[in-house]
Symmetry: C2
Subunit: 248 residues, 2 copies
């Protein structure tokens, strides 16, 4: 038996998120189905990030065990031939049988949240960004972002339905940039994120950009340890899981 | 009566191009239908560029005449409320009754052709770029692009079904750039383009990038005045009409 790690990119538009659901097609259900077909045995993948319905990925990580003798690095292309065009495995490789994508002490996850900020929506951006027609103040958003970097208790930035007991996380970097096509990208790297944390960070930075919150409010929001202190949860379609790096 | 000019952005994925077709929904048919509803009289738009099926736009231009007293600049937002989300009018303004989007001596059109150049397709790019897994040589493509700038007879870069008698056009600039996300953008500005010309330019530059043609071949291809001398027509989904500027 061997354990195979795959890096999975997907367009989340037409999926009910990563995790198996009683109703609705998920990334996990499609991967299990196609890997089971390809390898001729029942396969169950274990994912690193159980992204929500509508969230996109350029580099989620998953593992599965197989008895099949197909070389691990050949699985990538063979699997892509069976997958729908909105899921593409970027790589496949053998890892130690003990390796687990959610039980690594040293991990860095990077997400991007994209906001199209102009007067009128651009149709070719609508599936992969949140549209905001209020003029956003980039400098204010950047000032607020700086207050959120570092190790903090992010309880205020966590969906109340969470099960996490420990809500302390470290954000290594949180940047806000704008390109010439009016796209604002909020890019965040951290050692882990609470349920909905990146979307709440984005919604809070948007509120700062619109002037509804002040950059200085970030300290008060963190200290409150209360979800209602932060801004709204930004829509799923603007969120991309960019990559997950393991310090191995 | 007044004449109104609109700038129209659309995601061409689900349309049979701009121009009215006996079968199939087109951008023109949707605009006519929704403007007729909005203004309470039969409206027929005249478009500047009759983009092909599957081609996208950030700034096509069209005009129509109306007796309705709604101020021209208010039509933009009112129309967007009726349009499907893959079409968005960016602006609307009154112009002279004599103004025509295809009868202006001085016009600059800019198109972009996008190619995702990496080993494996990225699902979130698949609708708005052509995927090419052969490694493309950017310097070669740039050298070939330089040979195509200026005034030339572009008959070799024109679909043979064209009706154009005069195939001389001027390309003001033709650039090839690559970003950190493996996206190659071919950006071309000219005084007009023949049928399929931008897609044939893109297909020819791709052939140069792959080594199947040499940058020096561009002169021979231009001189041949024969469609079969140039490279293939690149797929529609990578093409964006960026803007049309009128020297008024």
């Amino acid at each position: 038996m061997k354990r195979v790690r795959i890096v999975v990119a997907y367009d989340g538009t037409n999926y009910h998120g990563w995790q198996l659901q009683p109703n609705g097609v998920t990334i996990e259900s499609v991967l299990n189905e196609k890997l089971t077909e390809l390898l001729g045995e029942a396969i169950s993948v274990i994912g690193a990030s159980r992204t929500d319905s509508g969230v996109h990925s350029q580099g989620n990580v998953a593992v599965f065990d197989t008895e099949n003798r197909m070389p691990a690095d050949k699985i990538c292309l063979a699997l892509n031939q069976r997958l729908p065009e909105d899921i593409r495995v970027q790589s496949s490789e053998e890892v130690a049988l003990s390796w687990h994508p959610r039980r690594c002490a040293c991990v860095k996850k990077t997400y991007e949240y994209r906001v199209l900020n102009r007067r009128i929506e651009m149709p070719s951006c609508r599936l992969y960004s949140h549209f905001c027609h209020f003029a956003l103040n980039l400098e204010r958003m950047q000032a607020a972002a700086r207050c959120l970097e570092g190790e903090h208790d992010f309880k205020s930035f966590c969906n109340v339905r969470t099960q996490a007991e420990d809500t302390v996380r470290t954000i290594y970097s949180l940047s806000v940039t704008r390109n010439e096509a009016d796209m604002i990208t909020i890019r965040v790297t951290g050692n882990g994120f609470l349920y909905n944390m990146v979307r709440i960070l984005a919604g809070t930075l948007l509120a700062v950009g619109m002037g509804r919150l002040q950059p200085e409010d970030m300290e008060t929001i963190l200290a409150a340890k209360d979800r209602s202190a932060a801004g709204p949860t930004a829509p799923a379609k603007g969120l991309f899981l960019i990559n997950i790096k393991y310090g191995e």
